[in-house]
C-alpha cells in the first residue's frame, strides 16, 4: 500500500514537471559525431551559452533540445574533441548534425587535455565511471594487452577478482553481480584464459560506462554494478586498417564506409599465440598442451532515412585449453544485437533491440581409448524497447520494456564409444522468463538542484517442463513437482525504486545522494574467485529466490584550480537479501538437484571511496583510496555468524600517473596496494585413513598477505609515413618483482610427512612486455 502511494506520488511529480510553457517553442535535434570517422559521440554536451541549459547526447549520439523561439549560441563539446559553437535563430524545428574534430591527431591521440568535463558535478547520477579506449591506451597492463576491465580496476570501489584477472568486484559485490553488456547483450563470462584477459578487444570498443551503484532505471538484473560497453560503429568516411603485435597476441581491425557518410562496417579480430611457443618447447608436459583464445567483433550500421538507423553487431569468442590426449575444454560467448533507432518527431527517440546471447563450454575426456564429452551452457533471447522523451530542457524521460527468455542447460554427458565407461546422462534444462518495465526522469529542478527518479518492475517466472524440488534445511528433497505441461512454476514480482539528487554548492562543488533497489534472478555458483569456465549459472525458481539489494550513497564533488583537479568522495551502504552460498562439501558439478547443495542468507557491504584526479597538463592521473567491507550471514555457514566475503579487502589504494614527455613519448606508471582477501586457513590438523586433514574453525577468518605492485610503461610514436602511423608500447608488469600470493596451500613435507608446509604460489614476478601497433 505504501508502495502504491509512492508510485502515485511519483506519477504526479512527473506530470507536474512537464508544466507547459507559455511561449512558442521549437526543437533542435541532431546527432554529434566525430569528424574524421563519423562515429557517434556518447555524452557530448550541447549547452546554451549564457544560460544554465543544456543536454547531453544519448548512447547513439542523439540529442533534442526544446527552447522558446529566439537567438542562441550553442556550445557543443565532448571529451578529447575540439568544442564548437553554433549560432542559431530558432523559429522552427531545426536539425543540427554536428561533426567534432579530434584534439591531437590520429594514433597519437594522447588525451592529456581530455576529461575537461570529467565527472559531472551537476548531474544527479552518482557512482559512475566513464572510460574511453583512448584512456586505456596509456596504462601499462600485464603482457601489454590493453584491457578496459583492468583499467576499471584502478578506480576506487572496483577491485580485481585475483592476480592478473580481469574479473571485477564492485563495492564488495560478487563477480556474478555485475551486469556486463556488450552493445546491450549480456556477456555471461567476460574473461579469457581463466581470467587473464577480458572478452573486450579494446580496438573494437568505443566507450565503457560503469555504474557502481545508483543504476539508471533502464538497467536491471544484477545487484552490484552495470558495465555498459559500446562497440565502435565503424568509420563511415574512410577505409582504415589498424592492428597490433604483442608478446602473446596479435590483432587486426578493419573498418570503413559501405556508403560514405551513411553506412559503415567494422571487423575486429584477436588471437593469442602462447600455444605456438609452448609447442616449440622440448618439455613434453608443455608441447603437447594447448591454451589459446580468439575473438571476433563485427558491426554494420545503416542510415535508412533521416529518422531511422539500423545497427547490427556481433561478438564471438572461444577459449581452448587441452592436453593432447586426455583432456580438453573449450568455452566462449556469442552475442548478436540488432537495433533500430527511430525518431518520432523531434522530441521522441526510440530504440528497439533484439538481442541474442549464448555462453557454453564443452569438455572432452578420454578413457580407455574412448572419448566422451560434456556440454553445458546458457542462452538468452532478449527484446527491448526504450523511448526517450525530451519535453523541455529541464526534463528527460525514459521508459521502456524488456523481456528475456533464458534457457539454462546444466549439462549433457555424451558417452561416446562403448569403451568410455560412462553412460549418456543429461540434466534437465531450466527456463526463465524475465519481464521488466521501467520509467525514469532526469529533472533539472533549478540551476542548482537536479533530481533523477524512476522505478523498475521485474517479473521473473521459472517455467518449463521438468522436476522442481522442495528441499528442507538439511538439504534433503522432501517433495518433487513434476511440471509436465511446461507452464509457470513460480513468478516473482520485484518492484525497484531508484532516486538521486545533486545540489550544487558554491565554488565548483556539489553534494549528491541516492538510493537504488536492485533484483537479480540469474545467479552464478562458483567455488573459485577467478571465474572458472565451468562455474554454474542457475535461475531463480521455487527454492532459489531473487537476490535483492538496497544501496544508499552520499557523495561530495569538487573541481579545483580551474578544473585542473577534481576531488570525489562517495560513501555507500548496501544491504543484500537472498544471497546464495554452497553448503560445506557441496557437489558442485555433477548434480541434477543443485538446490540440495545451497544455503541462503543475507549480506552487507559498506565503504568510502576517495579520488583526487589531475585532468590537464603534461602530468595527468589520479590517486584513489577505498575503505570497504563485504560480509555475509548464512545459516549453516560459520555457525550462522557474520563472516567476511572472499572479496572483503578493506584497504585499497591505486595511483595512476601519465606523463607526456614530448609529442612522441608518453610515460606511465601505476601502483596498487590492497589488503589481502579474506581466506580460510586451517586452525588444526588430524589424520583420516592415514591422510592429513586440516581442521577449519571458521569461514574466511584469515587474510592473504597484502598485495602491491608497480607497473611501468612507455609509448613512443614511430616515424610517420605517408599513410602509416605506428607506435611501440613497452614496459614491465610488477616492476619491483613483488612475490604476491596468488594462493596459499598446505601440504605434508616430503621428507617428514608429519610436518606441514604452507606454500605460497606467485603467478607473476617481473614480466616485461612490448607491443607494436599500426594504423593505415
Amino acid at each position: 500500500m505504501r508502495l502504491r502511494a509512492f508510485y502515485v506520488y511519483l506519477f504526479f511529480l512527473m506530470v507536474s514537471s512537464l508544466s507547459l510553457w507559455a511561449q512558442t517553442k521549437h526543437t533542435i535535434t541532431g546527432s554529434v559525431r566525430a569528424k574524421t570517422t563519423g562515429e557517434s559521440i556518447i555524452r557530448a554536451s550541447v549547452t546554451v551559452v549564457g544560460q544554465h541549459i543544456g543536454v547531453t547526447t544519448n548512447d547513439y549520439g542523439f540529442y533534442s533540445l526544446t527552447l522558446p523561439d529566439g537567438k542562441y549560441t550553442l556550445l557543443i563539446s565532448a571529451v578529447g574533441r575540439q568544442p564548437q559553437t553554433v549560432d542559431i535563430l530558432l523559429t522552427e524545428n531545426i536539425q543540427l548534425p554536428t561533426l567534432l574534430e579530434e584534439q591531437g591527431s590520429q594514433l597519437q591521440d594522447v588525451t592529456v587535455t581530455a576529461r575537461t568535463k570529467g565527472r559531472s558535478i551537476q548531474s544527479a547520477q552518482m557512482g559512475v565511471e566513464h572510460i574511453t579506449t583512448k584512456e586505456i591506451k596509456n596504462i601499462p597492463v600485464l603482457f601489454g594487452e590493453r584491457d578496459v576491465m583492468k583499467t576499471l580496476q584502478l578506480l576506487p570501489g572496483v577491485q580485481a577478482a585475483a592476480e592478473g584477472n580481469s574479473g571485477i568486484n564492485v563495492r564488495g559485490g560478487a563477480a556474478d553481480q555485475n551486469l556486463i553488456l556488450l552493445d546491450e547483450a549480456p556477456v555471461y563470462n567476460a574473461s579469457h584464459l581463466l581470467g587473464f584477459f577480458s572478452t573486450f578487444n579494446s580496438d573494437a570498443i568505443k566507450d565503457v560506462t560503469l555504474y557502481k551503484g545508483d543504476m539508471p532505471a533502464q538497467y536491471g538484473g544484477r545487484l552490484s554494478s552495470v558495465m555498459d560497453v559500446r562497440m565502435n560503429d565503424g568509420n563511415n568516411q574512410d577505409f582504415h586498417v589498424n592492428g597490433g603485435l604483442g608478446v602473446i597476441s596479435a590483432k587486426l581491425n578493419a573498418e570503413g564506409p559501405i556508403e560514405k557518410g551513411q553506412s559503415s562496417f567494422l571487423v575486429s579480430g584477436r588471437r593469442t599465440y602462447v600455444d605456438m611457443f609452448t609447442r616449440l618447447s622440448s618439455d613434453s608436459t608443455k608441447n603437447k598442451n594447448s591454451l589459446y583464445f580468439y575473438d571476433l567483433n563485427a558491426k554494420l550500421n545503416f542510415t535508412l532515412s533521416h529518422r531511422d538507423k539500423l545497427f547490427i553487431s556481433g561478438y564471438f569468442g572461444r577459449d581452448n585449453l587441452s592436453n593432447a590426449d586426455i583432456f580438453g575444454i573449450n568455452w566462449g560467448n556469442a552475442t548478436a544485437t540488432v537495433r533500430w533507432n527511430h525518431t518520432f518527431g523531434p522530441r521522441l527517440f526510440s530504440n528497439t533491440s533484439l538481442i541474442y546471447s549464448n555462453y557454453d563450454y564443452k569438455l572432452k575426456f578420454s578413457n580407455n581409448g574412448s572419448q566422451f564429452g560434456v556440454t553445458s551452457g546458457l542462452r538468452d533471447f532478449n527484446f527491448k524497447e526504450e523511448l526517450q522523451y525530451y519535453p523541455n530542457p529541464r526534463n528527460n524521460i525514459r521508459m521502456g520494456v524488456n523481456a528475456i527468455y533464458h534457457t539454462l542447460n546444466p549439462g549433457v554427458l555424451n558417452a561416446g564409444g562403448p569403451k568410455s565407461g560412462v553412460n549418456d546422462t543429461s540434466f534437465q534444462k531450466r527456463y526463465g522468463l524475465e519481464n521488466a518495465a521501467f520509467i525514469s526522469n532526469d529533472w533539472k529542478v533549478t540551476d542548482k538542484l537536479n533530481i533523477s527518479y524512476g522505478a523498475r518492475v521485474t517479473a521473473f517466472s521459472a517455467l518449463g517442463k521438468g522436476d522442481f524440488y522442495t528441499v528442507n534445511v538439511a538439504g534433503q528433497v522432501t517433495d518433487t513437482l513434476h511440471n509436465k505441461d511446461g507452464g509457470i512454476v513460480k513468478t516473482y514480482f520485484t518492484p525497484e525504486v531508484r532516486a538521486s539528487f545533486s545540489y550544487q554548492l558554491g565554488g565548483a562543488s556539489s553534494i549528491k545522494a541516492s538510493y537504488a533497489g536492485n533484483t537479480q534472478n540469474m545467479h552464478l555458483l562458483s567455488t573459485s574467485s577467478g571465474g572458472f569456465p565451468t562455474d554454474r549459472w542457475v535461475a531463480s525458481n521455487n527454492m532459489i529466490k531473487p537476490e535483492r539489494s538496497h544501496q544508499v550513497s552520499l557523495g561530495y564533488y569538487k573541481n579545483l584550480d580551474e578544473d585542473k583537479y577534481e576531488i570525489t568522495v562517495e560513501t555507500y551502504y548496501k544491504a543484500l537479501e537472498n544471497q546464495i552460498d554452497y553448503r560445506d562439501g557441496a557437489n558442485v558439478v555433477s548434480t541434477g538437484t543443485i538446490e540440495t547443495e545451497l544455503l541462503y542468507g543475507k549480506g552487507r557491504a559498506y565503504g568510502i571511496e576517495g579520488m583526487l584526479r589531475k585532468k590537464t597538463g603534461r602530468l595527468t592521473g589520479w590517486i584513489g583510496y577505498t575503505y570497504s567491507r563485504s560480509q555475509k550471514k548464512i545459516d549453516g555457514i560459520n555457525n550462522g555468524d557474520w563472516y567476511n566475503a572472499v572479496q572483503d579487502r578493506p584497504h585499497d589504494i591505486s595511483i595512476v600517473g601519465m606523463y607526456k614527455l614530448n609529442p612522441k613519448w608518453m610515460l606511465s606508471a601505476t601502483w596498487v596496494y590492497n589488503t589481502g582477501n579474506a581466506v580460510s586457513f586451517p586452525s588444526g590438523k588430524y589424520q583420516a585413513d592415514g591422510r592429513t586433514v586440516y581442521y577449519y574453525s571458521e569461514r574466511n577468518g584469515y587474510r592473504m598477505p597484502a598485495y602491491h605492485r608497480l607497473d611501468l610503461g612507455a609509448t613512443v610514436q614511430l616515424k610517420q609515413r605517408k599513410h602509416l602511423s605506428s607506435e611501440l608500447a613497452f614496459g614491465v608488469y610488477n616492476a619491483y618483482a613483488r612475490n604476491n600470493a596468488f594462493i596459499i596451500t598446505f601440504r605434508d613435507n616430503k621428507d617428514d610427512p608429519n610436518k606441514t608446509e604452507a606454500v605460497r604460489t606467485t603467478l607473476f614476478s617481473i614480466v616485461p612486455f612490448i607491443s607494436y601497433n599500426f594504423k593505415f
Binding site: 565407461g421 565451468t534 562439501g585 558442485v588 555433477s590 586451517p682 612475490n739 598446505f746 606467485t762
Partner: protein
C-alpha cells in the same frame, strides 16, 4: 573424477603461466583439542578399530593424541552389540563382532557428558576382478599406472574407495568414485596420481584395496578431497561427517578386497 580432472586443469594452466612456489611461515590460530573419531567395520575378520583423538597444531609434527576412558559401543541391526576395549590410549577394538554385507552398524561414543553417534550401512560387495598396468599420458608425460577392474552392478547408489600401496608406502591420493555417470559399466579408471612426475617403475609391488562404501562415506571422502586437504582447489571447510554430536572424522562400514601386482 571429473572435478579432479578439472582442478588438475587449473593447476596446469597456472603452471604454464609461470607460477612459482615457496614455502613460507604463516601465523595460524591454534584451535586445538577437537575430537576426531575414526571407525571402520569391514567384511573381513575382526577385530575392528575405533580411534578417538584430538586435533593438533598445524605447525607441530603430527602425533596421534589418543583420548582414553571413552565408552565405545558398536552394534548392528540384527541385535549384536559390543562395548569396545581400549588397547592403547585412544585405540578401541572389538572382540566378537563380525562385519556382514547389507547390515547397518551403529557407533556410540560417550566421553564424560559428551555423546557422539553414527550409523553406516555395509554395502553388498562388488567383485574386484583384476589389476593391470597401463601407460598413459599424464599432462604430457607418459607414466605407468595401475588400473583396478570391476563391473558396477545396475542400479545407481554404488560408491567405491581405493587405497594404493606402492612398495609398502601408502599413496596418499584419495581415490573414490560413485556410479552417477557409470552405472552398470565396467570400470577401467586408473589410479593416476596428479603429479606428472609420478610413475610406477619396473618391479614396483603395488597393492590395491577396493572398498565398497555407503553414500555417507563417499560424501566424506569427496568433501575431504574438495575442501580439507589444503590443496586450495575448492572452498576450505571440514569434511561432511556422518558423526552426530560435533566430532570430526567418520564411521564407515565397508567391504574390503585386495589385489596385488608387480610392475613388469
Amino acid at each position: 573424477m571429473r572435478t579432479k580432472v578439472l582442478s588438475v586443469g587449473m593447476t596446469f594452466a597456472i603452471m604454464i603461466l609461470m607460477g612459482c612456489q615457496k614455502v613460507i611461515n604463516l601465523d595460524l590460530k591454534d584451535d586445538a583439542g577437537k575430537y576426531v573419531i575414526e571407525g571402520n567395520i569391514t567384511n573381513l575378520a575382526g577385530p575392528y578399530t575405533v580411534t578417538i583423538s584430538l586435533t593438533g597444531k598445524v605447525s607441530n609434527d603430527y602425533v596421534f593424541n589418543g583420548v582414553d576412558h571413552a565408552t565405545v559401543v558398536v552394534g548392528d541391526n540384527t541385535g549384536n552389540s559390543e562395548t569396545l576395549q581400549e588397547k592403547t590410549q585412544g585405540v578401541y577394538q572389538t572382540a566378537t563382532l563380525t562385519g556382514v554385507e547389507g547390515r547397518k552398524y551403529y557407533l556410540s561414543v560417550t566421553l564424560g557428558d559428551k555423546h557422539f553417534t553414527a550409523t553406516s550401512v555395509m554395502p553388498h560387495q562388488v567383485p574386484f576382478d583384476s589389476l593391470y598396468i597401463e601407460q598413459e599420458d599424464n599432462w604430457g608425460k607418459i607414466v605407468k599406472t595401475v588400473v583396478p577392474v570391476f563391473t558396477d552392478p545396475f542400479g545407481k547408489g554404488n560408491s567405491y574407495k581405493f587405497n594404493q600401496t606402492i612398495n609398502g608406502n601408502l599413496d596418499k591420493t584419495l581415490y573414490y568414485e560413485n556410479d552417477d555417470f557409470t552405472d552398470g559399466k565396467e570400470s577401467t579408471w586408473s589410479l593416476l596420481r596428479p603429479d606428472p612426475d609420478s610413475t610406477l617403475h619396473l618391479n614396483d609391488q603395488v597393492k590395491v584395496e577396493m572398498q565398497c562404501i555407503d553414500s555417507a562415506a563417499y560424501k566424506y571422502w569427496y568433501s575431504m578431497d574438495q575442501s580439507s586437504t589444503g590443496n586450495g582447489n575448492g572452498l576450505p571447510s571440514n569434511p561432511v561427517t556422518n558423526i552426530q554430536g560435533g566430532a570430526l572424522g567418520y564411521f564407515s562400514a565397508h567391504t574390503s578386497q585386495t589385489r596385488s601386482i608387480i610392475v613388469k
